[in-house]
Symmetry: C2
Subunit: 305 residues, 2 copies
């Protein structure tokens, strides 16, 4: 079952060198989520042939232009293409006002319904939950209200071990096995212990998105041992003062958070326009945390189950 | 002296095939104007290495997203790059409200002052005038309030014919020649007739931008014999019904307007996403008006003086 992140934009506030502002697609078991939506996101989605009508939820981390200015264009395009399924938008309050103002002065109304969900600042809260996944907010430290997002698969059932499954079991008995129960006979006696006929469940995968934020160890306990962490790395260490002043992070700091949280893989992005080449940024992070990758346009990172 | 138009976006409402939504740079004698500002305009300007701090006036034809959604990103970037010179924005009312709403919820204020000039619907009006040029509105027929823009150089002075200029003329006498006056002696008698020492003025060039609009012969008298006409050509003739219904034009109709107005060159753009290849659209227009060009991304069209 799929669990993958596709990078649509890797740029900081000033888009440069063909890099687009922040946007990522997160696809988990056929659910498609958009995380941040900088200017040009719909153009990037067309380039990478994303069927954006499958997006059910859009998560906007904060109201700086490079994280949300592509949203109206995307909504208008969904409208022109006659989307009918509901769309959920999760953002700090204010974006609802911006959307309403645009609609008021241009198209008037859309062909589909938007459910706007205002985020709370500074709290960990589950904002989406279904049978398979949860999404919770991650409090970030930035100049305006800002939240990251943590995507987790729920615990999965044990899997039937087909090699050891006896013939003649009834449907109900197999269903109980999947639930972790033993196989009973009609009198309620144990015929087979669950663990003798099943394999451990597949692991539940997780992805944490943290942009924009100053260095913030408070998040470590929440994102402990996620499979993949995206952490902004706007600057290199030589600009640590500027990072601190603007509440951004350096590549070293992103890697320090990854190391403290003992994640499997670190993705870095939100690169300042001062860096034409990104290899030095990557190398700086890898000195602290070897398993680091550049989250650049068009790259897809999969987490195997 | 320069008079040139650079195309930043050629797409209709749905950006496709790498085409960007409407935006053009108009440069006349070191004045730089931006006409429409679809999503991604700043990204295109960076690609084509446009120094956008030189832009003094931005003209927005109407409030459909593909003509204005790049504006906030451009304003934020100008702010981040610490622009200080004033910026004039000409648009139908509503965009002022949209800009204010964005500022209220994100950056708060900008590093430079915006002068917002609300357009009037359905009138020809001079909205910018200086010593060298005028810009006037062109009433267009679209589904919302919509104006085109007509850029004209003012009449130019006659030019001194250096080959025939006698030696010993004083500065004042030469200045009078340039103004079209004769050269007089101290007693007020004519020493040289103006036309004997001067050449005719260079021509005053003109550019009309007409997007979006249904077929509309009313504009012909206003744009008569302009050097260059940009006219939208969203559809081909086989979609004439759809053009009429949505108040857009076909390539044939754009060419008919160009022919009626006897312009020198027609540029067509605002292409529907249904046309991957544009040669057929161009060929359709050229059957009616031979001097037609595709206004596609990165092309610059100069008008010689």
């Amino acid at each position: 079952m799929s669990f993958k992140i596709t990078i649509l934009g890797s740029s900081g506030a000033l888009p440069a060198y063909g890099r687009f502002p922040s946007s990522q697609l997160v696809e988990i078991q056929n659910r498609m989520f958009l995380v941040d939506c900088g200017e040009g996101t719909q153009i990037q989605m067309m380039k990478y042939q994303v069927n954006f009508h499958r997006i059910s939820h859009i998560f906007i981390s904060h109201l700086h232009g490079d994280h949300y200015l592509g949203l109206m264009g995307l909504l208008f395009t969904m409208h022109l293409q006659r989307r009918t399924n509901d769309l959920h938008i999760h953002s700090h309050w204010g974006l609802d006002d911006i959307i309403t103002t645009h609609l008021q002065h241009s198209h008037g109304s859309l062909s589909f319904k938007i459910h706007f969900h205002g985020l709370e600042e500074g709290v960990i809260k589950t904002i989406v939950e279904d049978a398979v996944i949860t999404v919770e907010t991650i409090p970030l430290h930035h100049r305006v209200k800002c939240s990251g997002f943590l995507f987790r698969e729920k615990p999965k059932p044990r899997r039937i071990d087909k090699d050891r499954l006896p013939e003649g079991l009834r449907m109900m008995q197999i269903a109980n096995l999947k639930k972790g129960e033993d196989v009973l006979d009609d009198d309620g006696n144990v015929l087979y212990k669950n663990h003798d006929l099943t394999l451990p469940p597949r692991r539940s995968r997780s992805y944490a998105y943290c942009s924009d934020t100053g260095y913030n160890e408070d998040m470590v306990s929440q994102i402990k041992e996620v499979n993949m962490l995206y952490h902004e790395a706007t600057f290199m260490a030589e600009e640590a003062d500027k990072a601190e002043m603007t509440l951004h992070s350096t590549a070293t700091q992103a890697a320090q958070i990854a190391a403290l949280a003992n994640v499997t893989t670190l993705l870095i992005g939100h690169f300042s326009a001062r860096y034409r080449e990104l290899e030095p940024v990557l190398n700086e992070a890898m000195k602290v945390f070897a398993s680091t990758r550049l989250a650049v346009e068009g790259e897809t990172f999969s987490i195997k189950d």
